[in-house]
Symmetry: C2
Subunit: 203 residues, 2 copies
């Protein structure tokens, strides 16, 4: 990683990082802190302090709290879209199970921040609402590809998008004390395939 001086070098900054690396670091720090409290309860001072930089430098990268939150959510959205490694030579059911399993793992690791994000829908920030909608749109063809169903009808695309939102809600509301992880993943996999077959008129 190239190490270049920061554009602004405030007093007390001991580590020099490239602007991109610093931005990425701040986003990671933000995501970690958002595991334990919602964005409206996260002072940017805490982010600066956890990253070992001044508030002034933080504001150099992210002029407003909304800008910072948008950057964090945007990075996590891209991560969600990053295709997981699918089983070699696997058929559609295994590929779908793998996508379901990956999503359950994502929620297990980031439950609080993920819940705050989709339930609070970005604290009323329209950019966040649109980002969530765009991420959901982009997920539809990935799931259809995994199911060997890339070209399909408007009804199927509509239904798959709704199903993905329903799955998100299900996994967020899931309590492992009353439903086992395996039962959840089994059901969601079977449910996606059944929903697709129904929409495609294959039942």
């Amino acid at each position: 990683m190239a190490v270049t001086p920061d554009v602004v070098s405030p007093p007390g900054l001991t580590t020099r990082m490239s602007a991109d690396a610093r931005r990425a670091q701040l986003i990671e720090v933000g995501w970690e802190l958002l595991q334990s409290r919602p964005i409206h309860e996260l002072p940017l001072d805490d982010v600066a302090s956890a990253a070992g930089i001044s508030r002034t430098l933080l504001f150099h990268y992210f002029p407003t709290k909304a800008d910072f939150y948008f950057a964090v959510v945007s990075t996590m959205g891209k991560r969600l879209l990053h295709p997981p490694r699918l089983p070699e030579g696997a058929g559609a059911p295994d590929r779908i199970r793998s996508l379901v399993d990956g999503f359950v793992r994502l929620v297990e690791r980031n439950r609080l921040s993920y819940t705050a994000l989709v339930r609070g829908a970005g604290g009323g920030d329209q950019r966040i609402v649109e980002l969530i909608a765009d991420t959901r749109d982009a997920l539809v063809p990935r799931w259809l590809d995994a199911a060997d169903c890339p070209d399909t009808s408007p009804l199927t695309r509509l239904i798959v998008r709704g199903w993905l939102v329903g799955m998100e809600e299900t996994v967020l509301a899931w309590d492992p004390r009353s439903v086992s992880r395996e039962a959840l993943v089994d059901h969601l996999t079977a449910s996606f395939l059944a929903e697709l077959a129904l929409a495609e008129g294959r039942t």
Copy 2:
């Protein structure tokens, strides 16, 4: 309805309404105005003006904009929970179709405000987020009753809740130019029954 004087009687108020009737009227006016623009673009002056009362009187009933919005959303949530008249002697599939149809109709009549509500999740107001979650929780037993499945497992309840959220998203994203109303209602009815059978291990 008993007509009692308002606690505050500002100049220009020609009609005397009971406090409850006035409150209900303001909520209806708010809901109507929210058909055409989101809450953050709705000045309370417009609400007062549409209701033919002063801003002072409006603030007497609803001290803050958040209070007003909460009252509007709460009333609409109760309306959503009000059971529609189900077909006489109908079986589970007809009852479920009737619930699906009722929800599609609700969205058709209130698309803009409903979308703003669930997508913006109340502009970051925690009370609204909780109200939406409570309304969804309360819908689950109603749908399970309609499907002749009142007592069921935690998995089924979890899945039905997720399905309802997915249906909501589907109907909100639905474009009647690409998917007919009939195809939408048919699919959602079959989907609910298939999902329930799957969760109950009846497939």
